[in-house]
Amino acid sequence: MIQPIDYYAVAPPLILALTAGLVLLLDVFLPRAPYARPLLGIVTLAGVTGALAVVISQAVRAAGPLRTFCVPPGLPGSAAPGPGAPFPVTAPEAGAAPPCSFVVDGFTLVFAGLALAAGIIVVLLSMTELSFGDIPAGEWHFLLLCTLTGAVALPASRDLVMLVVALELASLPVFALTALRRYDGRGSEAAVKLFLVSVVSTAVMLFGISLLYGLTGTVYLERLARVPHAVPGAAAGAVSGSGVGTAGPAAVTAGGVDGAYASSLQIGHDLPPVLAVAAVLVLAGFAFKVAAVPFHAWAGDVYEGAPIPVAALLSVVSKAAGFAGLILVLVGGLRNLAPVWAPLVAVVAALTMTAGNLLALRRRRAVRLLAWSSVAQSGYILAPLAVRDERAMNASVAYLAFYAAMNLGAFAVVMLAARRGESGELDGYRGFAARSRIAGPALAFFLICLAGLPPGLAGLFAKIVVFRELVGGGLGWLAAVMAVNTVIGLYYYVAWVVRIFTPAPVPAATTTPAPAEAPAMAPVPVPAPAPGVAGTAPEAVPVAPGAVSAAAGGRTGQVAAGVAIALAAVVAVLFSVAPQTVFVLLPETLIATG
């Protein structure tokens, strides 16, 4: 039978995939001319922008969610659960829509838009990175588009198989991207580490998913969500008796609906332990992806070994994909197992933010500091998930959006600085504000945003959103842990900001720099603006003819990074002044059922 496909719904990943193919073809057939590399970048950029345009058009359409890849009504899977499942789900009500694998709803659009917007920045950074010339451009852009395809398809997934496929599509190309620079030992090491960690996490997650499927007989999240309702008492009895395989006759009754309103404590007691194990395994798998404790150790080496655009990709796009999957599975699929996973998530969040911040505290290299700080930020994003309230998920998503803008901006400036020959050491950033009159204050702004203080209001509001959910949700201890962590985080962010504005040590010979000789190196006559310049004068960033483009001189590669910084700065300033732009994007009901 022929399944109808809603091509409008699948357009964003489709466009990305087709562009990926196009880039690969172009790379083969284009002559090895100097324009080839930028051209590939521009094609990639066009593809990502096009996909983003489709996502935006889907968002403004303002109709119900788009569904496709649904189970046709005639198939047995559409109505009845799989045979032989110990804890089969209830049959859906008569007349209910058949489950679908691909749903475009508010949740999907937010995450897809986030991934694509971040993708644009990453592509721009890639154009700078690729202008070095030691990385094959065609493969790079192909892999980048592949991982973006996965990241866009993932939040639309509403069944476990599709979810895993999309997640792997988002993850696998990153290994290759990490190792793509030839003869780079650190890059290869990072790629191997990332590969091993990722594969292990996938295996763990697949084990959990197979348990879920084996127990419930369904892969659709919507049906998984109904699991415990079906077996209020029988499941506990069955499992206490014999464990996994030999379940008693699970009574599928209409009373299951009433069971839905049992207290969460009651549900917690009635849950079969195997389901809990499955939930924990799935959680562990995603914890690897988002670098949560205790699966965080790979972050430092991998971020530092990878090219900077890949580190940015890992810290934002891959992380967003991981969180999208996590929210889908936990909130969408296993929401009735919340008594099991919510405390676990709370503990993991607390540990993650603490470990990330403590590890970032003594770092000497910029990218490594950003790596550990992004681990800490993962903790902040995880924290609201521990509140058993669907509205609290919005806090996670909002924080992720704020974080994406701030972190990408920081990576973009680090990229530009690296391209200009700054050392990656934090101490190398001394006097950066004097050398780069736009990029320096911009970096300071992004870092203060990440620290969450005015003038970086975006970060402050992001933290307030999370704090609000935690305090309102009764997780006072987690809020207190996060409060302490905010202070720790501020320490290293501000230490970096101070370096940016500290005059660089100048050799004694140049004690009398003539203005014409080295005007940018004389820190005092240069009235370096304090941080918040970018915050208070956003329009100055894109239009200023200053350091970004002028100092680039003939080096074209820096222009792309400059544009990336400008974009990130504009978004971060927008988020600072009008954070409601994020809040209004968040849908009322987060996840539409498949």
């Binding site: 505290l361 003594r362 909002a398 934090l426 101490d427 001394r430 203060i448 203080l453 005015p454 003038p455 209001l457 402050l460 307030i464 959103v465 704090f467 609000r468 305090v471 309102g472 006072g476 809020a479 207190a480 409060a483 302490v484 905010t486 202070v487 501020l490 320490y491 501000v494 230490a495 101070v498 370096r499 504005f501 500290t502 005059p503 660089a504 040590p505 100048v506 004690t511 009398t512 720099p513 004389a522 820190p523 005092v524 006559p525 009235p527 370096a528 603006p529 304090a530 918040g532 310049v533 208070t536 100055a540 200053g546 009008a578 954070p579 409601q580 994020v582 809040f583 209004v584 968040l586």
Partner: protein, 584 residues
């Protein structure tokens, strides 16, 4: 919607934004630029001051308890955050104080530093190896290692950035006193952190990095705890409107919830105030900050903490306040005694004034702890008086430090009234005002606070408060003791040349005409490790300079005015105090 409060915020903000735009006086020389930026700041803060004067004039003094000039616009619907500003009798004096002190700071900075004397601009600074930021305070810039080279100027250098920072600081300070939305209050409360951090970290003294880091980490920790408390209030009551919450007087919150919220909010504010066990950031920050930083820190930033008690903690959480007020009073009294004793042991003038702030803030907190209109009035009065007096003290000490190159009491060598009669007189005036001489502003705050403790609100243990009052009275004696002993060592006696060649650091020849040129260059500065010599020394030091006089005279006049006519302020705060406490 009223335009005045918005304009009070918009003017300094616009001024700061204009400074950030990288255009301007690039064509002129560096000297002109150095003079131009403080004057620009003076103009902007002058407009702000004029606006605040208009605010005070247009304020309906017959009904100060009513919230006036209310602006209430939605800002962030997703957070329920509204742009809600307003002025009443509690905030009006603080707004005026803020605008005045910022203006005076810029006036103090407008001294026209000459290009030739003073520091050598670029190389002097760039050759200074700076520590690698707060994370590595030890290797880079220990005080001992700093001896061989000139330290950075107290408030010179990067005038554009300094003006920018001070203007942003003004936005945050005024905003804090105007905000009527809990989250908006918090946002403005936080706005001051980064600018003040940079004021200390860039323009501060030798150990500025460590002090600045301590300042920001400490106060941020307090702020986050405060945020948790505010969000908890929100979660309990469902509103962020401070006027509505104050009117509700805690209805809608259980007693336990009020205690918890008061604990969190109070702890957060107590860091800022600072209250005794949470004060340790303050001496370092005050000592290392440049003069204008110390003035604003002591004059306004500390008031943000006490203002929070008056505006949020006590009126919104009366149940929690009743339970915890004795603790607040106890910590306040310990702070009074501790601050005074610490002052007695200080050798550095700036540090001594910093510790004296802890004592004075103790009186303010004791006034709040009484939970009576009298105590509240005393606290609010003491707040303003402390802002004026301590600002003056820091100004004077900053000038002393510039002249002598040190603020160590033993190094000053006494006899200031002989050597610098006017400066010595101003110092004496400020110190006497600070110790609470009747007839000057410092007196009324202390007396009213003690009076409040004498008759605390019903429900509070009176005998305990009588002990507080007695200890507070002892504190006033100790305060007098350390100030008088300081005066006897600094201003009295025979001048001793402890510093070989007193340094010309304060007053350059540019704005003083020939005197500076004629007398400069007679000796070479060699003032040891604490010296701020720049190669120009001279035998006689110049007495109070015009720019200093401009900055100090308004403060002295106000101290005198409030001391002789306290009703001017009490009439404004009194009705509000009653309404905030729910008293008839």
């Amino acid at each position: 919607m009223s335009w005045l409060p918005v304009a009070l915020l918009a003017v300094p903000l616009a001024g700061a934004v204009l400074l950030a735009v990288p255009v301007g006086s690039a064509a002129r020389g560096p000297t002109a630029r150095e003079r131009w930026f403080p004057r620009y700041g003076l103009a902007v803060s002058g407009i702000t001051l004029a606006l605040s004067a208009v605010l005070a004039a247009a304020f309906d003094h017959d009904d100060p308890a009513r919230m006036q000039f209310v602006t209430n616009l939605p800002w962030i619907p997703g957070l329920g955050l509204r742009f809600h500003l307003g002025v009443d009798g509690v905030s009006l004096p603080l707004v005026l104080l803020t605008a005045l002190l910022t203006f005076l700071c810029f006036a103090y900075l407008c001294r026209g530093r000459p290009a030739g004397s003073g520091r050598v601009p670029a190389p002097g600074r760039s050759a200074t190896p700076s520590p690698g930021g707060p994370s590595t305070p030890s290797p880079g810039d220990p005080p001992g290692a700093a001896s061989g080279r000139p330290s950075e100027p107290a408030d010179g250098g990067r005038p554009r950035a300094l003006a920018f920072t001070l203007l942003v600081l003004e936005v945050g300070m005024i905003g804090t006193f105007l905000a009527l939305d809990l989250l908006l209050f918090f946002v403005f409360f936080e706005v001051v952190l980064i600018p003040m951090y940079f004021v200390i970290a860039i323009w501060g003294g030798h150990r500025r990095r460590a002090a600045a880091t301590k300042f920001i980490l400490y106060t941020l920790l307090g702020s986050v705890v405060l945020l948790l408390g505010l969000l908890f209030i929100w979660a309990q009551t469902g509103t962020l409107d401070m006027t509505a919450l104050a009117r509700a007087h805690g209805t809608g919150m259980s007693r336990a919830a009020q205690i918890l919220a008061f604990l969190a909010v109070g702890a957060g504010l107590a860091v800022k105030t600072p209250m005794w066990p949470l004060h340790t950031w303050l001496p370092d920050a005050h000592t290392e900050a440049p003069t204008v930083g110390s003035v604003l820190l002591a004059g306004v930033l500390l008031k943000m903490g006490t203002y929070g008690f008056a505006r949020i903690a006590v009126p919104m959480l009366p149940g929690g306040a009743t339970v915890l007020a004795p603790w607040l009073g106890a910590f306040a009294v310990i702070g009074i005694i501790y601050g005074s004793l610490a002052c007695l042991a200080q050798r550095d003038l700036k540090r001594m004034i910093a510790y004296s702030s802890i004592g004075h803030m103790g009186f303010v907190l004791l006034g709040f702890a009484a939970l009576t209109p009298a105590g509240f009035n005393g606290a609010l009065f003491g707040n303003i008086a402390h802002g004026l007096i301590t600002a003056l003290l820091f100004f004077v000490v900053g000038s002393i430090k510039e002249r002598y190159g040190t603020a160590e009491i033993p190094s000053l060598g006494g006899g200031m009234l002989t050597r610098l009669p006017r400066l010595g007189s101003v110092l004496t005036f400020a110190a006497v005002a600070s110790l609470g001489l009747p007839g000057l502003a410092g007196f009324w705050g202390e007396v009213l606070s003690l009076l409040g403790a004498f008759r605390p609100a019903a429900g509070l243990p009176r005998s305990l408060y009588l002990v507080f009052m007695a200890l507070g009275g002892l504190g006033t004696v100790l305060t007098a003791a350390y100030f008088l002993s300081m005066l006897s060592r600094v201003t009295h006696g025979r001048p001793v040349e402890t510093v070989h060649a007193p340094v010309l650091a304060a007053v350059g020849p540019a704005d003083t005409g020939g005197t500076g040129n004629a007398e400069s260059g007679e000796g070479t500065a060699d003032v040891g490790s604490t010296g701020r010599g720049r190669g120009h020394g001279r035998r006689g030091m110049r007495d109070v300079a015009p720019h200093e006089l401009v900055a100090w005279v308004p403060l002295m006049a106000l101290i005198l005015l409030l001391g002789l006519w306290p009703k001017a302020l009490l009439d404004v705060t009194g009705p509000v105090a009653r309404s905030l406490l729910g008293a008839p």
